[in-house]
Symmetry: C2
Subunit: 345 residues, 2 copies
């Protein structure tokens, strides 16, 4: 047992919002404080969940708490987010999400009617994703000690025998495919919070991706890795991956899909869309032999119509994400270090 | 889809603390709002968790959020509670707890040092209970929108082939055994909150009960049901059981174990110890043929030395818990309807 807190507390005596933001400080908290403490092979897989073998039946197990503010936003609400987010984390482990738990932490005085709306939304999202809510818990905290409602969902999914997803399979040359436009969710929440009536068409991309993932895994055994670029955006997810795999990533700026109105909102707000949170987006790292097959399959799916190749894994500059910009130069894409917007999910 | 909220909102337009207190209002929220909405056979088992069959491998899956205040108290802290609580919920399903997830919701400004203390406590408790933390999530909410730290743990446990625990097996004549003194945890928290220096010896009974449960399940196939009487105390747990099973329960007041100082604290505070939360306590409902064998086994265990029979299941007055008092009369023991003390766990 260490006698001193491993986070340099002279630097951070208190938890900052950025420690939950998905960027550098989140990464520090996890890698310095949590992982060494709980150190075990299942945790150290560092998937979006743990993969557990029960007598040959492989299950994925994942958890996420949802604290998004506001609770209701264009394109979704906290309930839908809580279902889709955990379903997608399981999908990134290669698992078919089957069962979810539901933990509510409600602030005293929260509207019973809004609780009921959220409950209905959870049910609709669960039905849409084909998962069941099988167990739950409700806690109520005193007024002023919470913020309306926080939701935890944990989930169990089944991994088919032929599926083998692992960051250790990542290799130079792998193509990186995304299933559509980036930054929709984050910009939606930001505009709501800023009460900016920017564009009614901008809405969250929250969606369950399990069906698309399964359909791709059925036609290709060369999906090396998957990741959903949520908190911290595309930049943080890709940086994490390069650092763990000790490989580089090259992005093609002109290929990264983004809606015109979302791009304009980013420019107006002075934000880099690569740092903005996504919800219904997933990155596939695919052996180039299978890229076209996978891309064709994805484009056939409801949540994959705009799928495209946005970059590739390279040997050069391990630990770094470089982007070929539209003007022909190359720039380093770094993880966000502070907190762009708290409580995005 | 119903068009109106099924909770009579003219009566409860807002969520009250008592909706999370484990008593009548909690029961109403669950039975009227959540269960009908998510209705499915696994949820409807209404165990402390769901029991799921994967090709013959039976797993239990459970979730709980911990919002206890204060975070540190005599006998334990929120971290230890979060591990033991979920381990015990799995134990009540007849499962060996194996894997836990860990979801933190931290308030901005929370002390990094306390976070580290809690992390260490979780690790110690997990080691003590023989479970692994395999996946996690950290969210940070703005200052004033949380209360230091809330923790969700969800867990997966394995149910041995010979084990078959179900409320449907409960029958008249079953003995009810408890593994020790009641009301320790709730009174500890109450005295802390009231800042009463009542008695330094009163401390939380938080403990992992999985080892004791497994040892009992190994020697008896006639354990019909188990339940940990946490929020709402012994009275709420037993009332829930009688109502679901449509059977009665008879309690023997003079047999219910309670420490003298805890009893005195209850009298001083005007509280019924049957309504006070327990943590490291479990109720076994046992076929009388096996009662003595089970009792002997329990008394041999670290957390079962004070085990004793406190009542039995009866046909009379289905849906009610009656208690033979020490003065020879009989009284109805009802579920608590309001909220005795919020955030007990």
């Amino acid at each position: 047992m260490e006698l001193n807190c491993p986070i340099p507390i002279t630097q951070y005596k208190q938890v900052l919002l950025a420690h939950g933001g998905g960027g550098k400080l989140s990464e520090q908290l996890i890698s310095k404080l949590f992982l060494p403490q709980f150190n075990n092979p299942l945790l150290n897989q560092e998937h979006d969940g743990a993969i557990i073998d029960f007598n040959g039946t492989r299950l994925a197990f994942s958890t996420d708490s949802y604290v998004v503010q506001p609770l209701f936003f264009p394109g979704g609400d906290i309930g839908e987010l809580a279902v889709n987010g955990t379903v997608n984390d399981l999908a990134c482990c290669g698992a078919r999400a089957l069962y979810l738990s539901l933990g509510f932490i409600i602030e005293e005085g929260f509207s019973m009617d809004e609780l009921w709306q959220i409950t209905q939304s959870i049910k609709r999202a669960a039905d849409h994703a084909g998962v069941q809510i099988v167990t739950g818990d409700t806690k109520v905290v005193d007024k002023g000690k919470g913020d309306k409602i926080f939701i935890n969902t944990s989930g169990i999914g089944l991994i088919d025998n032929h599926v083998n997803i692992s960051s250790s399979k990542l290799k130079p040359g792998d193509d990186i495919i995304i299933n559509g436009n980036i930054a929709d969710h984050g910009i939606t929440i930001m505009l709501q919070r800023a009460e900016l009536q920017f564009d009614n068409e901008i809405k969250s991309d929250t969606a369950p991706l399990n069906e698309m993932v399964q359909s791709v895994l059925e036609i290709s055994e060369n999906i090396h890795m998957m990741r959903d670029p949520t908190r911290g955006g595309l930049a943080s997810s890709l940086n994490e991956i390069t650092k763990k795999a000790n490989l580089g990533i090259e992005l093609y700026e002109d290929k990264i899909p983004i809606a015109e109105n979302v791009k304009n909102a980013c420019e107006l707000l002075g934000l880099d869309p690569l740092h903005i949170a996504n919800e219904g987006k997933i990155l596939f790292f695919v052996d180039p032999d299978d890229t076209q097959k996978v891309l064709a399959k994805m484009k056939n799916q409801k949540y994959g119509e705009k799928s495209c190749i946005i970059g590739k894994v390279v040997e050069k500059d391990p630990g770094y994400v470089r982007m070929k910009t539209t003007i022909g130069s190359t720039r380093i894409v770094d993880m966000i270090s502070g907190e762009q917007l708290p409580r995005i999910c």
